[in-house]
């Protein structure tokens, strides 16, 4: 039994990606793991005083979003695992794929940001394949 890693944030745009990951896991009989990365790099855009642990809030929200993803999978007859990591999204996805020794990584393509972002995402997919040996599905 293999492992499928689905990096997700939980918005409407992620539902398609989650559906694809659930479908793949059921088809292949693999274990499905939803990954949420608490990436706080958006905080670098302002010098406004940040004196609270904003990362904890993002992680709690990530836990909630993963719980939604789990429920979604359950409704489709699959029990999924969840994992939350902190750091830069790209690095953490690769690190999780390596550490969990997954066979397959499912990622969502950007829907709003145009061709350039899509190209960058495809390049990232190739990078994961090269570095981890896992097969990458872009949805």
């Amino acid at each position: 039994m293999g492992k499928i890693l689905c990096a997700t944030r939980g918005g409407e745009a992620s539902w398609r990606t989650q559906d694809k990951a659930i479908e793949l896991a059921k088809e292949r009989g693999d274990e499905l793991i939803f990954l949420y990365v608490a990436d706080m790099s958006f905080m670098d855009k302002t010098a406004a005083p940040v004196v609270v642990d904003a990362e904890s809030g993002v992680k709690r929200m990530g836990g909630f979003l993963l719980a939604m993803a789990q429920e979604h999978a359950r409704e489709k007859g699959l029990e999924a695992q969840v994992i939350i990591r902190e750091g830069k999204t790209r690095e953490e996805i690769k690190a999780a794929a390596k550490e969990l020794e997954v066979d397959c990584v499912v990622l969502g393509l950007p829907t709003e940001e145009g061709v350039f972002r899509e190209e960058a995402m495809r390049a990232f997919g190739r990078e994961i394949e090269e570095e981890t040996g896992a097969e990458v599905f872009l949805v």
């Binding site: 958006f42 670098d44 855009k45 302002t46 010098a47 406004a48 005083p49 609270v52 909630f64």
Partner: protein, 560 residues
């Protein structure tokens, strides 16, 4: 000056020991100029300079100077054999050179006195002017369009201004912008310590989970009715933002708000965007709610109570307008709401929104109450707001006894450095006369009409703060408001400062990049998979900004 009739020694019949020359150096707006160099030179009747008059002196902080000359040096001019020439020079100003009229001399005791009154220096647009202006525009652009981190941009500007002054200005005065001592003088430590004190306060409060709990209570009380929920959430956000930093409020409220929206099955933006708008409006109500107000309060000496009495009603009226607009914009979305039946997610929501440290919360609320009372009494006690904030924050630290290393790490030093750098950059353009030039231009447009000046201040601040960062804008606009308040009849009631505060704070609602709460909330939403685009925010932000500033304008015109 050969017109002097009386020999100098005959004023009292015996020789005087010293001639004391006094005066005040001011700019064209009557603002005292510190550090101007004053020199007296003696020229004989052939026009040849025969004496430098005993060196030079510098004007004091109030622009005043006192020059003591031994009478033997000035003997020839006093006997009608030449002239005394006064030269006043300062970097970025045209040198003033004038012949002294010795007929105004008076003798008191053994001294002769010559009071000169105000000596006006006119700005000169030299290399220093353009370099300082360029540095300011660069910093302003970098901050507003997020090219560089705000702190790095402000620090870069400050260092550029000081670097040019010392590297080039020390050999060529045309390049002299500002000295290090003068730059430090521009840093408003009242603002720095007030922000620092409130940071400590909010850091302790933030650890208790109270804001997340309040958000969840709003959900519970309204029974999941989306419209009632958003109304309550916006009010909670506005009130909290009036007393605590609105960026922190949004950082704490946004995750729980997103979870509530998902439970209700509505788009998170329909709750998040009203909260952002409310945080900027609520922050306008008090001295400590939003950095532009803190800057204005410190610059003008307007206290906590002044802000609450003048800005509070404006914020409340604008909140009513905001709620009407939200209903209009998101009414259909709220109608779609449904309560998700998932007990797991509801339980998770409740768990995410619980009070984590009731003991600390109780202490923080008590100290918060004491601090609030001190803010109200601040004028009566003559206590600067920074001292009030530090008293409250330190009292809280002593009582709560958190790990001080942790606590000091939680003070966001980058913000404090940002403000220091910004103050120096704005000081630089004030020194070279750019601020005064803009003030004179706006004053000329207003033509002494207070209503026109108020409308200009309000709408220019509103539009500018929608596009560029409202903190550097306010820092640069304050001396302009001060000039107009001094020169326009009737402006002594501080109406121009209130107009600036409204414009700068409400303008923060115009675009997603206009203020820090907008940026961090957009970042939070993005982490939940909801990309808040510039155009999406614009569609809600621009009409809201327009309507709330309009409401404020009507109130200001009626009240003042």
């Amino acid at each position: 000056m050969g017109l002097l009739v009386l020999p100098w020694a005959s004023i009292s019949g015996e020789e005087a020991a010293t001639l004391i020359i006094t005066g005040r150096v001011v700019d064209s707006q009557g603002v005292p100029l510190e550090g101007a160099s004053i020199k007296i030179r003696v020229r004989d009747s052939q026009g040849v300079f025969i004496d430098e008059g005993g060196g030079a002196t510098k004007s004091q902080a109030d622009g005043s100077f006192l020059f003591a000359l031994p009478t033997e040096i000035v003997a020839p001019p006093m006997e009608g054999q030449g002239e005394l020439i006064l030269e006043v020079s300062k970097a970025s100003y045209a040198t003033l050179s004038q012949t002294l009229d010795l007929e105004g001399m008076a003798r008191i005791g053994e001294q002769l006195y010559l009071p000169l009154g105000d000596l006006i220096l006119e700005h000169r647009m030299g290399a220093a002017f353009f370099i300082a202006a360029f540095a300011f525009l660069l910093v302003f652009g970098f901050i507003s369009f997020r090219v560089l981190h705000e702190t790095i941009a402000a620090l870069m500007g400050a260092v550029a201004i000081l670097g040019v002054s010392y590297l080039l200005g020390s050999s060529n005065p045309d390049f002299w912008i500002i000295s290090f001592e003068r730059a430090i003088h521009y840093i408003d430590f009242n603002v720095i310590f007030l922000i620092m004190g409130m940071m400590i306060f909010v850091a302790v409060m933030g650890r208790t989970g109270v804001f997340q709990w309040l958000g969840y209570q709003a959900y519970r009380v309204t029974g999941g009715n989306a419209w009632y929920l958003v109304a309550l959430l916006t009010i909670i956000t506005a009130v909290a933002s009036a007393f605590l930093n609105n960026v922190t409020i949004m950082l704490l409220m946004a995750p729980v708000t997103i979870e509530m929206a998902l439970v209700l099955g509505i788009h998170p933006f329909s709750l998040l965007i009203p909260e952002i708008l409310a945080s900027n409006i609520g922050g306008a109500a008090t001295l400590i709610g939003d950095p532009p107000n803190t800057l204005i309060g410190s610059y003008t000496g307007l206290g906590f109570l002044d802000f609450l009495l003048h800005m509070g009603p404006i914020a409340m009226l604008s909140m009513v307008a905001l709620l009407v607009m939200i209903r209009f914009i998101y009414g259909k979305e709220y109608a779609r709401s449904r309560e998700m039946a998932s007990p797991t997610l509801l339980e998770r929501l409740r768990e995410d929104a619980r009070i984590t440290d009731p003991g600390t919360l109780r202490k923080a609320l008590i100290m918060g109450g004491v601090t609030l009372v001190l803010f109200f009494l601040q004028d009566l006690l003559g206590m600067p707001p920074s001292v009030v904030a530090l008293l409250g924050a330190t009292g809280l630290l002593v009582w709560v006894r958190p790990d001080i290393e942790d606590m000091l790490q939680e003070v966001d030093w980058t913000t404090l450095v940002f403000f220091m750098g910004l103050f120096i950059v704005v000081g630089g353009i004030e020194e070279v006369g750019l601020i005064q030039m803009i003030a004179q231009f706006i004053g000329a447009i207003a033509g002494g009409n207070l209503v026109l000046a108020t409308l200009l201040m309000l709408w220019v601040a509103g539009v500018a703060s929608s596009v560029v960062d409202n903190i550097p804008f306010t820092a640069a606009a304050l001396p302009i408001a001060a000039f107009l308040s001094r020169t326009i009849p009737g402006a002594e009631n501080n109406v121009l400062y209130w107009a600036l505060a409204v414009g700068a704070c409400f303008g923060g609602n115009g675009t997603v990049i206009a203020s820090a709460p907008n940026i961090v909330t957009a970042g939070m939403a993005d982490r939940a998979g909801y990309h808040l685009s510039f155009s999406h925010f614009l569609r809600v932000g621009v009409p809201t900004t327009f309507v709330t500033i309009l409401v404020a304008m009507i109130w200001i015109l009626i009240r003042y």
